[in-house]
Amino acid sequence: MKKSAKDVMLARIRAATANAPEPPPVPYDFRERDERDRAAILEDFIERLVDYKAIVTRTEDASLPQAVMDACQQQGIIQLVVPADLPSRWIPSGIKVLRDDPPLTIAQLDESSGVLTGCAIAIAQTGTIILDGGATQGRRALSLIPDRHLCVVRAEQVVGLVPEAIARLVERATHPITLISGPSATSDIELSRVEGVHGPRTLYVFVVSDR
């Protein structure tokens, strides 16, 4: 019987590595935690978001809807897409809301000018927001097609370093995960940076802490 491509490739690999020595154990000497206090970590997070051209507003639970309203007015958003399970208390009363329930069509998403989501985790070290499809985040198309992404990050969701975020994500590893660091960008033409290509051209972040 003719051997399958899989059998051939595995046989090649086994022949190639048969006499190779066993490499030494992996040295895990890199930093796994940022030991500084919360305030310093949060400050880094905001600084790095701004560095990557995201707009950042610090707010508290009670004033979140007003902050969202201000952002919508500033950005000219008249209709806001939200995931099916986004808490109503986040949403200002003066705005038209398009809830992803039943699921919106691609055309509906394309016509709307903004989306409001939460996130799973955020990383201070890199100014990264992570969505894993869990509560308040919805499916991936929601935070991709509308031109402005408004994202709520709770202070306690912000970790210091990349390894802390990956450790927290392990349990959710098989869900669709998106790491977002600033708005979409390209440097393909003569290396001059253009913010906003296919993903949302504006990233607006609300950092919410209980004070």
Partner: protein, 472 residues
């Protein structure tokens, strides 16, 4: 495996070096990215520890590659994906073409992928009547221009903004009033590609990493074209070289730090997508993973060359290389240029087909220092040079000359006789105290270097005279 010999590097480099626009653009690009990389790398006190961990994980993965690939296959299947194995480019292209045909689609949107360039997928799809649309801005530019990439990370760096404007006016932005402002050019690409994204049925991508333990695939990008392709079409086909697998999800903690800082010089690239098989109600509902060999197992079989497979395609070695930063990518005649290309290409296609590439280096070692997974590129270059030399016929003039030299160096008497001969023969070639060109077959050596003439008296002659008491 490609069987055609690649063009010789010195000739190709000469053409590139005489292109002043290319040199200017490349000089700017490589120095800019190099400085950005240096700045963000210096932010991390544990950079060297990350490099060591990354290198070590890759080495262990390669040692047990068969097990990790089987684990990956099981995990992807468990998550609702299908896995295909492809021994070479032709087999991969056939599998992908058939998968696209089965959907009934006659076009696909593509995420930038070196692996699909390596196997010339677009050509194979075109032959089957399927149009492949590149969606990365630079890839789109060179696809529209019918050109090839000059840099792994910024493939269209050889083109100026006005050329791109003219290109767009003739292709995707006919009748549009377009200036050469990069903002406007990017907006034109956005308008054109958005229609393609929103209507695409099938997407083809590469992979930066694949996690054996969970079956998770990772794609890092900047523009959002990747997210569009990975999210909106019904069918997603991902092609990855077998060396892209990583054992555990936690390994991403290391590689998601190493890659963006080494590649674009950012703390993190704008978008990184991770997905596992299919997820109901979110993204493609059919997922195919094609595992590609295409010469990689040959690389794996070489004790010294094996480390080449650790490469995560960041392009830091290109930007730092004194040769690449002057010649650009086209001179290397392969989709993998620069120092990494000089060791990867000859191993993938056979040393015989790319025998000038291991010499496209000054062996300065800068590539090794910046490599995020510590590939000792100079070591592999020397190893491959040895292979090239051993390939030469015993009647090859250089081999003959080297054998004769070995005979001369083996005997003090013959050595001194040869010195004597050279001393009288060299007079014709000395100009201004140096030998600046040698005759005949030796000319190639002296076009780039001056040679010090053999002095009138050697140390041994002087010593002998001294012993005789002629001199003090």
């Amino acid at each position: 495996m490609a069987s055609k010999a690649l063009p010789m590097f010195p000739q190709a480099a000469k053409t590139a070096l005489s292109n002043s626009q290319l040199r200017r653009n490349l000089g700017k690009a490589t120095t800019t990215i190099r400085a950005k990389r240096a700045a963000v790398v210096s932010e991390l006190p544990d950079w060297e520890a990350l490099r060591s961990a990354g290198s070590s994980i890759k080495a262990r993965t390669m040692r047990h590659l068969d097990e990790y690939l089987l684990q990956l296959e099981t995990a992807v299947q468990h998550a609702g994906g299908q896995v295909h194995w492809a021994r070479d480019a032709a087999e991969a292209n056939r599998i992908i073409t058939e998968l696209v045909q089965a959907t009934g689609a006659d076009q696909v949107v593509k995420v930038k992928s070196l692996t699909t360039d390596e196997i010339h997928l677009n050509k194979a799809l075109a032959a089957a009547g399927i149009r492949a649309i590149e969606t990365d801005l630079a890839e789109l530019i060179i696809q529209l221009a019918g050109e090839t990439s000059s840099h792994i990370l910024v493939p269209a760096i050889h083109k100026n903004r006005s050329e791109i404007r003219d290109l767009f006016r003739h292709t995707i932005a006919r009748g549009q009033d377009l200036t050469d402002d990069p903002q406007q050019l990017a907006a034109a690409a956005r308008r054109y590609l958005r229609e393609q994204f929103l209507s695409a049925q099938v997407a083809v991508s590469g992979a930066n990493f694949a996690i054996a333990e969970t079956g998770t695939i990772c794609v890092a990008e900047s523009e959002g074209n990747g997210r569009m392709c990975l999210t909106l079409p019904r069918t997603l086909i991902t092609v990855m070289g077998i060396e892209k697998v990583l054992p555990t999800f936690q390994d991403l903690a290391i590689f998601l730090q190493l890659l963006p800082r080494s590649s674009t010089g950012e703390r993190m690239n704008p978008y990184t997508s991770l997905w596992t098989g299919v997820t109901q109600g979110d993204g493609p509902q059919t997922f195919h993973l094609v595992l590609l060999d295409n010469g990689r197992t040959n690389v794996l079989a070489d004790d010294v060359g094996r480390q080449t497979l650790h490469c995560i395609r960041c392009s830091a070695c290109l930007n730092i290389c004194p040769v690449y930063s002057r010649t650009g990518g086209h001179a290397y005649g392969s989709v993998y240029p620069g120092p990494i290309g000089a060791i990867l290409t000859p191993q993938l296609v056979g040393v015989k087909q790319a025998k000038s590439l291991p010499y496209a280096s000054t062996l300065c070692g800068a590539c090794y220092e910046v490599c995020p997974v510590k590939i000792n590129i100079p070591e592999v270059l020397l190893h491959l040079r040895g292979k090239v030399t051993r390939l030469a016929s015993p009647l090859d003039p250089e081999a003959l000359a080297m054998r004769e030299l070995a005979r001369i160096f083996a005997s003090p008497k013959r050595y001194e006789q040869a010195q004597q001969l050279a001393r009288s023969g060299q007079r014709l070639f000395i100009h201004g105290g140096v030998i600046d060109h040698l005759p005949g077959m030796l000319a190639g050596w002296s076009t780039a270097r001056d040679l010090a003439p053999i002095p009138r008296q050697s140390f041994r002659d002087w010593w002998r005279e001294r012993q005789r008491g002629d001199q003090i």
